[in-house]
Structure formats: structure tokens, C-alpha cells
């Protein structure tokens, strides 16, 4: 068992204690209110009974004078559970009644007694027909004093009549309420403890298990997951959500690792080349011209490195999706014409016929620069690969649009990409076997794909029959994120 302060640190224990105090306070207030209200009601009822009784006695007195009154009182006083009756002469001597003694001073004022008073009933002094030990006799010798409420009336001949009613009932009622209150409070305490024990401690233990599992994961067990009990309650839902999150983090982490491996590999190669070139330029005696050439080659190599580096950064930013690249209305037809115009001389030099087929003038929200760059990359690739075409090399850029999407596609008649490789072709640094001897860093298609992701579009590689068809499909509605 944990120590008390440790227990009090748990939410369950704190809540239990708080509820206990609140409920006890409420119960106390309620009990107090009920007892005071009901005893007031009982007293009012008692007074009513007494007043009725007094009215009855007054009638008897009027009918038959004192003797009749005395008779009626004696008769009533003998009944079981009778009220209190007492008739005294002006000097306070008891004439008749069922009261043996009274708290002094009660008979001095007529009317209602101001507060409940104590009295002793007639004949209560000793046990009836029972042998008592001395001790018991001692107890019995001071019989219980009752408390009562009464009305004192003075008769015309100065004699006093007291009619009262015992207050034992309201007292008993109050006792019952007080006792039940105590029981209720005790049960509440026990209940609170039980709730804490079964619910709080159970929840606590599950939270402890979750904490431990997360500590293990933090400690390096990245494949670890939080326990799920299978009950489908809040804890399970929390665990499931956290597990989904952990899964996503793990996948991202895996992706990141793969990318950094690729980056390390593909940046190392040109860096090594760069270093070797500089080193070989330094060994042996060379002419100024040779030094110059070596330095120029070094610069060209580092420019290529910078280019690769920038492309990697750009892809990561676009894929991270939090990029704030400005978006405007992009006239895709213009972009297609621009890029075709830009690449036309290069295509011609490579003996490739580059043509554009634009039927529509769609406008989409997006980033003109990014789309232009993506299309350039694809056209660049197409020109490179169609140069190996069996027939006359040809590259066609087509722009089509319907109500839901706009598609730019670039089709070449080169050797194409086998279906199995198409998915892989858009990954970073992937250069399919057949293209190992081509210039470039293998980032063109990845960048185009990232640009399409940024525009909520898709990049697809298809069989161009022969050759390859790369299509960029933009949704018509909805701005890029």
C-alpha cells in the first residue's frame, strides 16, 4: 500500500474526500432542517390537541360545575396514554389528576407554558409488583422525568386546571432522525472508501500501466504500444489514439531515416568526387590551364551539389505540408506553353519533337512557380529518355480539363518504365537501373510529386504505349493547403 500522502496525491482519493465532505454537509443541513421543521409541526399539533381538550373541559364545567369537571378529568386521566390533567386549589394543593409533581412555577401563570417543562406522572415511583435489588431500587427511586407542554386555566373560583401533553413523541422522532443520520454518514464514509478502492484505485492502476508503457517507449522501445484492455472505455480509446499516433510517428521516423540514408549516400558520392578532383589537381606539377580546368570542374560539381541540396529542402518543405508558398490563380495553359517554349530548343538539339496540345484555358488556385518547375522536370526527363526511342523521338504535353479536374500530361515514346518500377520512380534519389548513366540527381520526379501533393493533386505514371506518360491531375475545387 502506498503511504497516505501518496494516496492523497491521486485524483481519485482527492475527489472521494471532496465528495464525502460535500455530501456530509448537505446531509447535516437537511437533517437539521427536517428535525426543526417537524418538531415545530408536532408542537403546533400538540397545542391544537390541548386547546381542544381545554374546550371540552370548559364545556363540562359549564354543564355540571366543578364536580362534573372533576369526574370527567378523573375518567380521562385513567385512560391509557392519557394527556396530563391536574386540578389544584388556589393554594396549589392537588385535588385530582394524573400528575404527581411538576417543575416548580408552572402553575404561577395561566395560559400556555412558555417552554416544555418536566413533570412526573402519578404512580410511576416504584415498579409494580416487582422485587428490585437495592441498586435497581436506587435507579427506580428517581423515575424518569418527562417533558411536556401544557395550558393552565384559572377557574372562576380561583382553582387551577392544567391540561398538558407529553412531548415524548417529538423527542423520539428527533432521536430516530439523528440516529439514521449517523448511520447514513457512516455508510457514506464506507461507500466513499469503497468507491475509491474499487474505481479510483483501478483507474489509478491503469494509468500507472499507461505511464509505464510510455516510459518504456520513451526509453527507446519504439515498437512498444500502450495496453488496451478491450473494454472500449475511455482508457482504451485514449490508448488506441495514442497507439495510432505512435504508429504514425514510427512510420514518419522510418521515412526520415530512409531519406537521410539516401541523402547521405547521394551527397557523399559527389562530395567524394569533388574531393578527389581537388586532390588530384594538387598532386604533380600542372600547368596553369590544368589548374584552372580542375577548379572550374570543382565549381561545377559544387553547383550541382547545391542544386541537389536545394531540391531536397524544397521537397521536404512541400511534403511537410506546412509550407506557406503563396498561392494565386494559375493559368495552366500558359504554364504549358512557357515550359514547352523553354524546352523546345533543347528538344530540337536532341532530335526530339516537342509539341504542346492545349484545348482548354483552365485556371486553378496554386503556385505558378512550383507547377512550372514540376512540369519542367517532367519534360526534361521525357526529352532525356525519348532520345533512345525506336522511332523518331517525340514528346507531347497535353492539357485537358473537365468539371472536376485538370490534367497536364507529358508523354514520350522512349523505352518507358516497367510497371513494377513506376511507383518507385517517384521516390527520392531513385534512379532506375536503365538510367544510371543519365545526368541528374534523381530528384526531378520526387519534386514533381511533392508539388502535386502540395496542390492536393496526384502524379501518375502510366504506360504511354510505347514510352511513358506522366500525368499531373489537379482537383478543380479547393485551394492547396
Amino acid at each position: 500500500m502506498p503511504s497516505l500522502p501518496a494516496i492523497m496525491k491521486t485524483t481519485a482519493a482527492r475527489l472521494t474526500a471532496l465528495y464525502l465532505v460535500l455530501f456530509a454537509a448537505c446531509a447535516l443541513a437537511l437533517v437539521f432542517y427536517m428535525t426543526s421543521l417537524s418538531s415545530r409541526m408536532l408542537i403546533a399539533q400538540t397545542r391544537g390537541t390541548i386547546a381542544e381538550e381545554v374546550g371540552g373541559l370548559a364545556a363540562a364545567y359549564r354543564r355540571g360545575g366543578l364536580p362534573h369537571l372533576v369526574r370527567v378529568v378523573e375518567q380521562r386521566a385513567r385512560q391509557p396514554g392519557a394527556n396530563l390533567y391536574l386540578i389544584t386549589d388556589p393554594n396549589g394543593r392537588i385535588l385530582t389528576g394524573n400528575v404527581e409533581s411538576l417543575q416548580p412555577g408552572i402553575l404561577e401563570n395561566t395560559g400556555w407554558t412558555e417552554r416544555p417543562f418536566t413533570y412526573r406522572r402519578f404512580g410511576e415511583r416504584s415498579g409494580v409488583g416487582t422485587f428490585l435489588s437495592d441498586e435497581e431500587a436506587e435507579v427506580q427511586s428517581t423515575p424518569p422525568q418527562h417533558s411536556a407542554l401544557a395550558m393552565v386555566v384559572k377557574l372562576p373560583n380561583q382553582m387551577l386546571v392544567l391540561v398538558g401533553r407529553d412531548l415524548v413523541e417529538p423527542q423520539r422522532f428527533r432521536d430516530v432522525v439523528q440516529r439514521s443520520m449517523a448511520v447514513a454518514l457512516a455508510m457514506m464514509g464506507i461507500g466513499g472508501f469503497l468507491i475509491w478502492f474499487f474505481v479510483g484505485r483501478r483507474a489509478l492502476r491503469r494509468i500507472d500501466r499507461l505511464s509505464e508503457a510510455s516510459r518504456n517507449i520513451m526509453g527507446g522501445d519504439l515498437n512498444g504500444r500502450l495496453p488496451v484492455s478491450g473494454s472500449g472505455d475511455e482508457f482504451d480509446r485514449l490508448s488506441e489514439n495514442l497507439n495510432t499516433m505512435l504508429g504514425r510517428i514510427a512510420r514518419l521516423n522510418e521515412g526520415l531515416k530512409q531519406v537521410s540514408d539516401n541523402i547521405a549516400h547521394d551527397l557523399k558520392t559527389p562530395l567524394t568526387r569533388l574531393r578527389n578532383r581537388a586532390e588530384s589537381a594538387l598532386t604533380g606539377k600542372r600547368s596553369t590551364r590544368e589548374y584552372r580546368e580542375a577548379l572550374e570542374a570543382t565549381i561545377a560539381e559544387s553547383d550541382q551539389l547545391i542544386r541537389t541540396f536545394n531540391a531536397i529542402l524544397m521537397i521536404s518543405r512541400l511534403e511537410a505540408g506546412k509550407s506557406t508558398e503563396p498561392t494565386t490563380e494559375v493559368k495552366l495553359a500558359e504554364t504549358v506553353r512557357d515550359v514547352v517554349e523553354l524546352y523546345e530548343p533543347l528538344a530540337e538539339e536532341n532530335g526530339v519533337a516537342l509539341t504542346a496540345s492545349v484545348d482548354e484555358e483552365p485556371v486553378i488556385p496554386g503556385n505558378r512557380e512550383l507547377i512550372g518547375q514540376a512540369l519542367s522536370n517532367i519534360v526534361d526527363n521525357a526529352i532525356k529518355y525519348s532520345a533512345n526511342a525506336a522511332e523518331k523521338p517525340q514528346v507531347t504535353v497535353t492539357l485537358t480539363a473537365d468539371e472536376t479536374a485538370v490534367t497536364m500530361s507529358v508523354r514520350d515514346n522512349g523505352p518507358g518504365v516497367p510497371e513494377a518500377d513506376r511507383e518507385r520512380a517517384t521516390e527520392r534519389f531513385v534512379r532506375l537501373e536503365e538510367s544510371r548513366n543519365m545526368p541528374g540527381a534523381g530528384l526531378g520526379l520526387s519534386l514533381a510529386k511533392a508539388v502535386m501533393t502540395f496542390h492536393r493533386g496526384v502524379l501518375q505514371l502510366r504506360d504511354g504505349g510505347p514510352g511513358l506518360e506522366v500525368s499531373m491531375t489537379f482537383p478543380r475545387k479547393g485551394a492547396p493547403r
Partner: protein
Amino acid sequence: MKILVIEDDREAADYIRKAFDEAGHTADVAGDGESGHAMAEDGSYDVLVVDRMLPRRDGLAVISELRAGGDTTPVLILSALGEVDDRVTGLRAGGDDYLTKPYAFTELLARVEALNRRGISKDVETQYKVGDLELDRLAHTVRRAGRDILLQPREFRLLEYLMRHAGQVVTRTMLLENVWDYHFDPQTNVIDVHVSRLRAKIEKEFDTPVLHTVRGAGYMLKAG
């Protein structure tokens, strides 16, 4: 040309200053935004090269303040951030050109020289003349040694940009930016092919070359 380089990386700043000196310019270096602002305010510089992230005062804030004070000295912003919209915010803050780190010094030099030219003549001329090569923007004609040369619209714009920056190195990126209005690194040799086409038209039947290739940097249009 007098250049102020506001850059907190000492080593980079020293290298830039030395390189500018070797290229025949004078460069001063300020190590933070505040002293850079103070030095720039005296107004004797032809071009400012401002790093975006500076201690004590952000590069963009320095530029905004200078512009608010009526200073029109051309500014080139250097940045390591390099998102497309960094360029936009940089230019909006009052920069005239933008270069992302890491960059080649030749690129920086070419752009700074291009900016300086703009600093001297605010107005774009209607006629350019380099040796015996003439270009008339309004009449849309190009002549060399009195003979008309027919150019495609894009070739015309390419030549116009080269002539406006005659005697200066113009990089491929600068050409893609100013002639095609795209701000990315041109892949392979697209720009070279355009330039060689243009070169064929303006040099083929003439004895002297005017459009020179500057190795490792770009191109330069120069008479003789």
C-alpha cells in the same frame, strides 16, 4: 562600386569582401543589424547585401527602415531559409533581389553588379548599343553592322536583357528569372541552348563575337 555587406557570419563576410575586392569593388562589412543600419544610412554605398537573420536587428527590418527613410540604395537579400514565399516577403520589404544560401559567389557578384547598374540609370532605355549591335525596344528591331537580324519574341527579350547588362556577367538563373519569369534553378542546359541559338543569329555572319560564355558563371555581352 562600393558595397556594404551586412552579415553576422564573420568568415563568410570576410570571404565575400575579399572576393568583391578581387572583382574590383570595395566592400565594407557590418556584423549586426544595428551597425549595418547606421553604416547604410550615410548613403555612400552603391549596393547593400543584407543577410536576413542578423543579431540585434532583423535584416528585413533594416531594409524597411531604410526604405521608410527614403533610401533607395539597391538591396540584395541573402537567406538561408529559402522557401518560395521568403523571396516574396523579402522583396515586399523593399529588397531588390534575393539569393538563397548556399550560393555561388559568381551568382552573388553577377546579381550585385546588375543591381548597381539599375542604381545608376533608373529608367529603362529604349535603345541599346553594344559595339555594332543595336537593339530598339520600341521598333522591336535588332541590327548588327547595319544589317537587320530577325529574332523570335523570346530571343528578343533575352538579347534585350543581355544588352541592358552589357559588360556584366549574367547567370543562367538570372536569365530564367528575368526572361521567363521563373525562379528556379534551370535544369541541365535549357538556357544554354537558348543562348546558343541567339548567338548563332547575332554572330554567325559576323567576324567578332559579342556574346561570351563566362565559364562557371554565365554569359556576358561585350563588344570586341
